[in-house]
């Protein structure tokens, strides 16, 4: 038998009222795989990540993580909607980085990185600080550890946010357009950190991005979303080099025109 996928979306649907945002999504992501999600605005890319992070509930289907249900739990051999305790147990494997950073403004970079390890994982402060120091070093911000978010540039804030997410040792990291809110000259430093993370850590990564160059170079697979469905997916060379679907071609063409 082959290894369990790290993440499995099994016929997952998401609706807001009458609006179907995701329509029967099926997507498997292997351990350590780097998957990029691209597609036009409003196609449901963010929603995919938010459902996996349990920031949104789902209307249909099941999301699995390492062979265990995330959105559901087993009761008498049947799957029932998960309770919070179950969600928290599985969610511990997932971390997320947001477009708008969402650092805690009343805490320094260091405090941002040790908060959850101490309160959630119950780590000793000294251990949490040692780990956070390593991570802040990895993102190149050792000197800024005592700065508050408002004293950091957007790129620096986003790098702290990445360190903060890593401090919880997730197996899966989600990135939602993490460079979209940045000035162009700051995009590179954040992408460099993500590259490093991909190399040094055995992380499964799922990222929504508009950086086509980065998606092409970094990902093992690219999924093109359109209107709540995966319209086309494949290795970056194929999807970018020889897109089969007309919509993919149109989208890539439009993006290249703009970029």
């Amino acid at each position: 038998m082959t290894e369990q996928p790290m993440v499995r979306f099994d016929n997952v649907s998401k609706r807001y009222g009458a609006l179907t945002v995701l329509d029967g999504l099926n997507l498997d992501i292997a351990r350590g795989e780097k998957v990029s999600i691209i597609g036009p605005s409003g196609s449901g890319k963010t929603t995919v990540l938010r459902m996996l992070m349990t920031l949104e509930t789902i209307n249909d289907g099941v999301i699995w993580v390492e062979g265990e249900p995330l959105t559901h739990m087993e009761r008498n051999g049947k799957l029932v909607p998960a309770d919070l305790a179950h969600i928290r147990k599985i969610r511990a494997k997932i971390g997320m980085v947001f477009q708008s950073f969402n650092l805690f403004p009343h805490m320094t970079a260091m405090q941002n990185c040790i908060e959850a390890p101490i309160t959630v994982l119950g780590m000793k402060r000294a251990d949490a600080e040692a780990r956070a120091a390593e991570l802040l070093d990895m993102v190149g911000l050792s000197e800024k550890k005592d700065h508050y978010p408002s004293q950091l540039s957007g790129g620096q804030q986003q790098r702290v946010a990445i360190a903060r997410a890593c401090a919880m040792r997730p197996k899966i990291m989600l990135f939602d357009e993490v460079t979209s809110a940045l000035d162009p000259e700051l995009v590179g430093e954040v992408l460099e950190v993500i590259r490093k993370l991909g190399r040094e850590h055995d992380l499964t990564m799922l990222m929504v991005t508009h950086q086509m160059g980065f998606a092409k170079e970094f990902s093992d697979r690219v999924c093109f979303f359109h209107a709540g469905k995966i319209c086309e997916q494949g290795p970056p060379n194929e999807l970018f080099g020889a897109p089969k679907n007309e919509r993919t071609r149109q989208f890539l063409h439009a993006v290249l025109e703009a970029g």
Binding site: F98, F104, H106, E115, A116, V120, Y148, S150, A165
Partner: protein, 242 residues
């Protein structure tokens, strides 16, 4: 108004009280009025503490509590906001004993004013919590915090800053409502003033002193809240200049 101006006003008020107190026609009233002021301050402080506790508990219960708690908190807030503090004082002091529960006047004063202001305070707490950016909840969720952990460590510290000015107003409201307790046999500052006035008809000195005393007390509250606000927003505002 800047803190400096407020402090200057407070100093002026205190100096004027001091100067008047040396005058023969004012001097005689000082011991009685100060006695009343002490009781007023005691009730105001204890009432404010109760208001904070009730405000936070009621807000959390209404926002995150299980259905029965939610219901209970809503009933509490609506009753104490929807009826006057005076009626609440009377009810606790004159009606409750008919049901076999007799509380002393001081306790009734603290309870009634604290519960009354706490009901308004719960709305302040609720508004401040809702004013914290949604991204903060989401980031805490992504870090797998529990609801209580998020509230305690992330949301409430940020909401706290937004709560300080409206709580300052409520504390001053509470301070002023303490004058009502004279109606349930307590000898607070307002009561002492009325009593002395009835006995001596020295209206001008008595009520001038009383006015200045209330003003001084509310200035202390305002200045205290300003300092607290400045301190609490330090982390948030630090480098807003950066």
């Amino acid at each position: 108004m800047g803190i400096r101006t407020l402090v200057a006003m407070l100093v002026v008020a205190l100096v004027v009280i001091g100067a008047l107190a040396t005058q023969e026609s004012y001097k005689v009233f000082m011991p009685g009025l100060l006695q009343g002021a002490v009781l007023t301050i005691e009730i105001a402080i204890l009432g404010s503490l109760l208001a904070i506790v009730m405000g936070v508990l009621a807000a959390l219960a209404r926002m995150y509590g299980p259905a029965p708690l939610k219901w209970l908190a809503t009933v509490y807030v609506e009753i104490f906001r929807g009826t006057s503090a005076l009626v609440q004082l009377f009810w606790l002091f004159f009606v409750l004993p008919q049901f076999g529960v007799t509380l002393n006047a001081f306790l009734v004063a603290v309870l009634a004013l604290g519960l009354n202001v706490g009901a308004y305070g719960s709305e302040v707490v609720r508004g401040a919590i809702q004013s914290v950016a949604r991204g903060q909840w989401e980031a805490s969720t992504a870090l797998n915090m529990s609801r209580p952990q998020m509230l305690r460590r992330i949301i409430l510290p940020q909401a706290f800053v937004a709560m300080i000015p409206p709580w300052g107003n409520l504390f001053i409201e509470l301070l002023k409502s303490t004058a009502l307790v004279s109606l349930i046999t307590l000898s607070d500052l307002a009561f002492k003033a009325q009593q002395m006035n009835q006995n001596t008809f020295k209206t001008i000195p008595i009520f001038t002193l009383v006015l200045l005393m209330y003003l001084a007390m509310s200035l202390v509250v305002t200045i205290g809240m300003r300092l607290l606000e400045r301190r609490a927003s330090l982390g948030l505002a630090r480098g807003k200049a950066a």
